[in-house]
């Protein structure tokens, strides 16, 4: 920035300050160059040429910059360029001792003006040009390989892609798809409603299964008036299948005048159990009343932990029934202090995990008390290993609607199963045939398109 230096200025040899001819302290050339360089680095402006900047710095201060720039040289690539600039201008390392000397002079100088005239070591009132340097330039260029650069670019594109709103993907809703969907729904609906409206009896019962026979025998082997723990652990959505399967078992137990203790690990379970008993009361030859024939202890919170807690101390965990009565001190339950005192445990669930929890947490506490699981068809494969193990961890397994219907028919009781069995039968046939037709058509199309290839 040699053009910026005024010709009527001269530099003081001691401190490097510049004075004009009138004796007024002017800004040093270094300060000016600093300001100029700062102003030149405004956004949108071109960066200052390092050579021009170096020209504006006095020779005795350039050595200071050289020292700093040489540090940059050690660590950064850009420093090499700066060092080259300086070496081109004839700056040598031998100037460095002068820098130290100059600094000492600054600290020991006497005050020239004002009330502190003659006092040594006073801090200068003005900005000392020795401490004004061009800001050290640090390279912001990251040393990366080409692969890293490519990956960074990809990441950048991904992030930009996330920020930019994507156009909503609209699926083409062809009319044929809608017709097919509605047609399937209509077919299924008709096949379900037709047997219900015409009261067509079940054409054939499902084949006899050993599981349902052994469950039946187990219930029959227990004496009348026994105390049974019944857990209703299924969601309302699957109550159609589960009610039908469980109703036949509960109906059989009610016929034998068992005292039922109802619990559930599902929040809606207690109401579900009450609803089932109300329904069975309407059709059976009995009238089950709360407290007299059964008690509803309600919901056991906590999933497997709650079950374990209940198995450890049933009286403490569920001390009252839903009406707030202390039922454990009444005659049917006063002799029961643990779950092993029950004559039978029946668990109805559509969820394999809940069935597993009962087997894992409760079954070991049952002792000789048998346990029967009433499960949906979808949960059966997950529960069957406990039934098939040796020794078996569950003593009875009633699975799904079909077997429930058989169980019911064998006991000659009216209920859900006989009412729904024909509907289920016809709906499955229609659904299966629709899938078969679809499979044949699309498989044919697929084979035709392969032939030209």
């Amino acid at each position: 920035m040699s053009d910026d230096i005024k010709p009527n200025t001269e530099t003081s040899p001691e401190d490097g300050k510049e004075f004009d001819k009138s004796g007024e302290v002017q800004k040093s050339t270094a300060e000016q160059s600093f300001q100029d360089s700062s102003s030149d680095n405004q956004p949108g402006q071109e960066k200052k040429n390092p050579e021009r900047l170096a020209d504006a710095i006095p020779d005795d201060k350039t050595s200071d910059d050289v020292a700093e720039k040489s540090l940059v040289q050690d660590s950064q690539e850009d420093g090499e360029e700066l060092a080259d600039d300086q070496s081109d201008r004839g700056v040598e390392d031998k100037d460095q001792p002068k820098l130290v000397k100059g600094e000492q002079e600054v600290h020991t100088r006497e005050e020239q003006d004002g009330p502190l005239v003659g006092v040594e070591g006073v801090l200068p009132a003005e900005l000392d040009p020795y401490f004004i340097h061009e800001p050290v330039r640090r390279s912001i260029k990251l040393q990366v390989t080409e692969a890293q650069e490519t990956q960074a670019l990809l990441l950048d594109q991904m992030i930009k892609g996330e920020i930019e709103p994507q156009p909503e993907v609209t699926r083409s809703k062809s009319a044929s798809n809608n017709i097919l969907r509605i047609g399937i729904a209509v077919f299924l609906l008709v096949s379900i409603l037709l047997p219900l409206s015409t009261r067509v009896p079940a054409s054939i019962t499902p084949p006899v299964s050993r599981d349902s026979v052994s469950a039946n025998q187990l219930i029959e082997s227990i004496s009348d008036g026994a105390t049974v723990l019944l857990s209703v652990d299924y969601e309302p959505g699957l109550s159609a299948e589960m009610d039908a399967a469980l109703a036949s078992v509960v109906d059989r137990m009610m016929m034998k005048d068992f005292y039922l203790v109802l619990v559930s690990t599902v929040p809606t379970g207690p109401v579900q159990a009450e609803r089932l008993l109300v329904f069975l009361n309407q059709g059976g030859g009995y009238q089950y009343e709360s407290s007299e024939n059964y008690t509803n202890l309600g919901y056991i919170p906590g999933g497997p932990i709650g079950l374990l807690n209940f198995a450890e101390a049933p009286r403490q965990v569920m001390p009252y029934d839903l009406d707030g009565n202390a039922v454990w001190y009444s005659p049917p339950l006063q002799n029961i202090s643990s779950l092993s005192d029950f004559d039978l445990v029946v668990v109805a669930t559509e969820n394999p995990d809940r069935g597993r929890s009962w087997v894992e947490q409760v079954q070991p506490k049952l002792g000789n008390t048998p346990i029967i699981l009433v499960v949906s068809r979808q949960a059966e494969p997950f529960v069957r290993p406990y039934y098939g193990s040796e020794p078996s961890q569950i003593q009875g397994l009633v699975s799904g609607f079909g077997v429930g219907a058989f169980y019911l028919n064998s006991n000659a009781q009216a209920g859900f199963s006989s009412m729904y069995w024909s509907s289920l039968n016809l709906a499955l046939i229609v659904g299966g045939l629709l899938m078969l037709i679809g499979a044949v058509i699309y498989a044919g199309k697929s084979l035709n398109t392969r032939k030209p290839e």
Binding site: G237, P352, I429
Partner: protein, 207 residues
């Protein structure tokens, strides 16, 4: 300080786990009482968490309604339904006739409708299963579905010979075998996770 706190938390978790685990193998009255007490605490926490969940549900839906977000009307319906159910069940009792009416005429039909829609969707998907192409796995899948469905039913007493037996074999051998494998995997995973928690190397209870 933080390290001390973390150590205390880990110690509580490990000791609690060991007490519960040992209770499965050793029958000691003192241990049993301690175990029951710890389980009581856990169940109480879980029950409180359920209440917190309900309160949070109300808050979220109330904000949605207040801010007039899309579907805010449904949020209002949810809150009103929740309050009405709480009042009815709280006043009349959970097994009263009004409570059973709500359950039988609102909750069960709504939940069953979702399953019914699922039935239609699954049938529709089954019909179009081979549209994307026929290969070995899609063929096997389709064949299994058809055997299980058609092997379950009978039409006026008529059954396709051998189909029912094949269905029984599929549901009781490969399906149960797969389920048993899953159960073994779950058991091993549970043991491994339990051991990690007991050793303090896994801390699912927070930092």
């Amino acid at each position: 300080m933080r390290q001390v706190r973390n150590s205390i938390v880990v110690a509580i978790a490990v000791i609690t786990g060991i007490i519960i685990l040992v209770g499965y193998f050793i029958e000691l009255p003192v241990l049993k009482n301690l175990r029951i007490m710890l389980l009581h605490y856990a169940v109480i926490f879980i029950a409180v968490a359920l209440i917190v969940g309900v309160v949070n549900l109300v808050q979220v839906h109330w904000k949605k309604f207040q801010n007039r977000q899309p579907g805010g009307v449904y949020s209002l319906i949810l809150i009103i339904s929740l309050l009405v159910t709480i009042i009815v069940v709280g006043y009349f009792g959970p097994t009263s006739t009004p409570s059973l009416w709500i359950f039988s005429n609102i909750q069960i039909p709504v939940a069953s409708s979702l399953i019914a829609v699922l039935t239609v969707v699954l049938t529709y998907t089954g019909v179009r299963l081979l549209k994307r192409g026929l290969n070995l796995f899609s063929f096997l899948f389709m064949a299994t579905v058809l055997i299980v469905i058609l092997g379950t039913v009978s039409f006026q007493g008529f059954r396709i010979p051998g189909l029912s037996e094949l269905r029984t074999w599929i549901t009781q051998v490969p399906a149960v075998g797969g389920a048993r494998g899953i159960l073994l995997g779950v058991a091993l995973g549970t043991i491994a996770t339990g051991m990690r928690i007991l050793m303090g190397s896994d801390r699912p209870y927070g930092r």
